[in-house]
């Protein structure tokens, strides 16, 4: 019996189109393909963290919009800004911002810890330890936060 077992020459030689087509494997009648469970993302903590990161990027976008609204209010004058601040104090906004802050923190830590992976710097032929590349991010974060806190609470 002749099965479609032979590799089409195009699949091997035309490597440019390799990513677009998985022609060889796609339609074989006897290969078994397991369906991915709908709940694959709760099977392990790593997958759950990844899915959370994907979903909660909405909150990061929300913070950006909030900041833009704040700048607009500032531009419209003291009254509009006071009104905006009152709006921020409503329980719904406080709750929403608290939750958003938590997720933004989660994203920040992820990105800071990612820097040594994306930028493996070398000094004198040796790779600088990951901690030394990630740490300046945290130091800068702490320093800027201190300055902001000083401005906000200093008065």
């Amino acid at each position: 019996m002749t099965q479609q077992r032979t590799v089409p020459k195009s699949a091997i030689h035309n490597s440019q189109s390799a990513i677009q087509s998985i022609a060889y494997t796609e339609y074989h009648p006897r290969w078994y393909r397991r369906r991915i469970s709908t709940y694959w993302w709760i099977r392990s903590w790593a997958y759950l963290k990844f899915t959370l990161r994907e979903l909660t990027s909405i909150f990061v976008a929300y913070f950006v919009v909030l900041t833009l609204l704040q700048i607009r209010a500032l531009n419209q004058g003291p009254e509009a800004y006071a009104e905006f601040q009152e709006w921020l104090k409503t329980p719904l906004l406080v709750a929403l911002n608290t939750v958003s802050f938590g997720f933004v923190l989660f994203h920040t830590i992820t990105w800071f810890n990612l820097t040594p992976k994306a930028m493996p710097l070398r000094l004198g032929g040796k790779r600088i330890p990951d901690v030394l590349i990630a740490a300046p991010n945290y130091v800068a974060w702490l320093a800027i936060s201190t300055v902001v806190a000083w401005f906000l609470l200093g008065e």
Binding site: S15, A18, F50, K117, A118
Partner: protein, 247 residues
């Protein structure tokens, strides 16, 4: 009586059944046995029809990757003692089509691997009389980690992105592309950029990071992909700011 351990093996015989089933085998437990030893015992003594891939038994050939209790592992480097008292469930590598029992179909990976040109590309080859391409130990050190990849595809079985989008070129292929991009003798990074900077290249990766955790050779494909995202972004900006630079 000597101690035994139960192995639950995924069986798939396409001429008999339409989907995989599990079959249990009791094998003698020995402290120095790995999962592959148990599979070989089953094949030799209990059921010669069992199909699986293996070759070197020492973590070099990359043939014996399978799911062991749900985790992608090189079965030659996974000790039975770790799973005592058992049972140990062995399945074919996740996300790949199953040909038979524990054997997966890997042509798709081979085509992807080849598409990133994992070899030294020269604009012009030196003539033999000019001698070899020299490299300092420091230059070797920049890519050596990525060169340890044995194409075992365990990282693909750990990657949910590959599971959900089979077009993703995947961790090992990108790590190997980066291995040659960082090689001081290579001049093919521009050619690889065209393949890697597509959506199905690096941009499909959303940094799950599991590929790095499961890699038996500590290659760190996740690191390679993030580095390459930075490179591709820089190249894009350069082309954007200096359009005459693009070919």
């Amino acid at each position: 009586m000597a101690e035994t351990i139960t192995l639950e093996l995924a069986r798939y015989r396409p001429e008999q059944e339409t989907e995989p089933t599990f079959q249990s085998f009791d094998v003698p437990f020995r402290e120095d046995w790995v999962v592959l030893d148990a599979l070989n015992y089953i094949k030799d003594k209990l059921d010669g029809s069992l199909s699986y891939r293996w070759s070197c038994r020492m973590g070099v050939c990359g043939s014996c990757g399978m799911m062991v209790n749900g985790e992608p592992k090189l079965t030659c480097a996974t000790f039975l003692s770790h799973y005592m008292p058992g049972p140990v469930r062995v399945e074919p590598l996740r996300y790949f089509p199953v040909v038979r029992d524990l054997v997966i179909e890997m042509t798709d990976f081979m085509v992807k691997l080849q598409s990133v040109k994992p070899w030294i590309v020269r604009e012009e080859e030196k003539s033999l009389s000019e001698g070899e391409y020299l490299q300092t130990p420091e230059q070797l050190d920049t890519y050596k980690q990525f060169s340890m990849c044995i194409n075992c595809m365990i990282c693909y079985a750990a990657c949910p992105v590959f599971g959900l989008d089979p077009h993703f070129i995947g961790p090992a292929a990108i790590a190997l592309a980066q291995r040659y991009n960082m090689d001081s003798r290579d001049q093919g990074s521009q050619e690889r950029l065209d393949i890697l900077s597509q959506h199905e290249g690096i941009w499909d990766c959303t940094f799950v990071g599991e590929c790095t955790k499961v890699c038996p050779k500590h290659v760190d494909p996740a690191g390679a992909i993030q580095q390459y995202k930075l490179t591709a972004t820089k190249e894009w900006f350069k082309d954007f700011l200096m359009p005459w630079r693009a070919k």
